[in-house]
């Protein structure tokens, strides 16, 4: 118990020192106030936008787009991944193309998609979906292909059908790689969502922080960055919990 308290104190020690020094230096006027607000100011900005409902609005906007794009990409990625991973011909046919497209930064698709779809909300969702598709797809392919040959023999010995091999053997065996892909995809989804929102200057968090920056509202900018970071953290914790639950059999 005492040890745990000590641990927590140790963890928050450095942030506390940094914040104190920051506030102190700011009040002495040693910091460029134009872009470095005091911690207190950031806190006030946070509470203000939280109370006014601005924060909830922008955050739900961002979260909805992000989750929609990610879910679509994940379903598509898993389905395609099983198809390509469980079929040797399909893998030989498509792997080189996939390897090339993977090295394409998803954000580079934004200009093309703007051209096709305009500066719309749908465009943002498509960017997110296209960007977060690859980790899931490639993870699933790799996972399905890496199924232990011994398990394939067990399945053959039981004369299992192809469909059954996929649902009972290949999918569960690919689960760790698949989940890693889903997790990476979610991180990418947040990144792309913020970028696309900046470009379209949308109501979501990305657009809001760029707006704050253009209007020299540094406190609001920092508050926005913090909220985006918190969003990323919450998403990561959620998917981490799902991952641990799904892979509980790995613990020996």
């Amino acid at each position: 118990m005492k040890h745990a308290v000590f641990r927590i104190l140790e963890t928050i020690l450095l942030p506390a020192i940094i914040l104190t020094l920051w506030q102190f230096a700011w009040s002495r006027g040693w910091l460029p106030r134009l872009f470095l607000p005091a911690p207190g100011e950031i806190w006030m900005s946070l509470t203000r936008i939280a109370e006014s409902g601005e924060l909830a609005l922008a955050a739900t906007d961002t979260a909805l787009r992000l989750l929609l794009g990610w879910v679509v990409a994940s379903l598509l990625g898993i389905a395609l991944g099983i198809l390509v991973g469980s079929n040797r011909f399909a893998h030989r046919l498509l792997n080189p193309t996939l390897e090339f497209v993977r090295s394409l930064p998803a954000s580079a698709l934004i200009p093309l998609l703007i051209l096709v779809m305009g500066l719309t909300d749908q465009m943002i969702v498509v960017v997110i979906a296209l960007g977060s598709l690859w980790p899931v797809l490639l993870g699933t392919i790799a996972g399905v292909r890496a199924v232990d040959p011994r398990l394939r023999e067990v399945a053959a010995g039981l004369e299992m059908s192809r469909a059954r091999i996929i649902t009972r053997i290949a999918l569960p065996a690919a689960l760790p790689d698949m989940l890693a892909g889903l997790r990476l995809g979610l991180t990418l989804a947040l990144v792309l969502c913020v970028v696309a929102e900046m470009i379209t200057m949308s109501r979501g968090l990305g657009g809001q922080i760029l707006l704050a920056s253009r209007n020299f509202r540094a406190a609001d900018l920092f508050a926005g960055i913090l909220v985006i970071g918190a969003t990323g953290l919450v998403l990561d914790i959620c998917i981490g919990a799902i991952e641990r639950w799904c892979l509980r059999w790995q613990r020996s």
């Binding site: 450095l14 193309t97 090339f100 090295s103 930064p105 580079a108 200009p111 900046m198 990323g232």
Partner: protein
């Protein structure tokens, strides 16, 4: 059998070119493979593409260098001193979930448009993989080696230079490879989002000018550049670490 991999792209290109001949095909948004090819060639020849590539690479390299400069010592520090690790975890856990792109407006406010602002964002993004790999490397240095170093009464800096660094170099290169991938993507992203320079800006410019042929040509180019950068680093890895049989050749 490798030729099989060229079939799908070839088919797509062929079908695309064929469709573009149909009446009513929206050439204004989709262009044609032939136009894309000629756009790629002409912007390669007039030097604009190469110049933009240079700008993107400059920001990438600057950012990655900054990331290594800060990330490696920091990673070594927290990796070899458990107490430093526990102290740093609070700050790291606050900053790490922040996507690098969210830092763009702040960097813009502080530094304005230009390559320094871009480099800072790239550095923030590439710092994490580099730092984490350095931390893992420092942690996994063979304890026996550390004991040997201590038995020989080397000073701390000597222990670092003679034991920790060589043992960790292999893993650091992995961090470098990961960091490079991240850095290039983030550089292009910053350009697409706000910064008026480099390949990303070239693409947004082409989009604003309603030139789908150029947008697609630059997209293909970005893919090629990223793919080649990765290939070069993977090759270097094989060459440099031939003695290593654990991790193999960049996968």
């Amino acid at each position: 059998m490798r030729a099989l991999g060229f079939v799908p792209p070839a088919l797509i290109l062929f079908a695309w070119q064929l469709c573009s001949l149909l009446p009513g095909f929206p050439v204004q948004t989709f262009s044609t493979p032939a136009d894309v090819m000629s756009a790629l060639l002409s912007s390669l020849l007039d030097g604009s593409l190469l110049q933009a590539t240079g700008e993107t690479f400059q920001a990438t390299v600057c950012g990655l260098s900054l990331a290594i400069l800060f990330g490696v010592p920091f990673g070594f520090l927290v990796g070899s001193l458990p107490r430093a690790d526990r102290l740093a975890v609070g700050v790291v856990e606050v900053l790490r979930p922040v996507p690098a792109v969210a830092v763009i407006p702040l960097a813009l406010l502080m530094l304005g448009f230009g390559s320094s602002m871009e480099s800072v964002v790239v550095a923030f993004a590439a710092f994490w993989p580099v730092m984490i790999v350095a931390r893992t490397a420092a942690r996994s240095v063979d304890e026996r080696l550390v004991e040997v170093a201590k038995a020989l009464e080397f000073s701390a800096p000597e222990r670092f230079l003679k034991f920790l660094l060589p043992a960790a170099l292999r893993q650091l290169f992995v961090g470098f490879r990961l960091g490079l991938g991240v850095a290039l993507v983030v550089a292009v992203t910053v350009e697409v989002a706000v910064n008026p320079q480099g390949l990303g800006y070239l693409m947004t410019g082409a989009q604003a000018a309603l030139r789908p042929d150029q947008v697609l040509a630059f997209l293909v180019w970005v893919g090629l550049v990223g793919w080649m950068a990765n290939a070069v680093v993977a090759l270097a890895e094989v060459r440099l670490f031939r003695w290593d049989v654990v991790d193999g050749a960049g996968r």
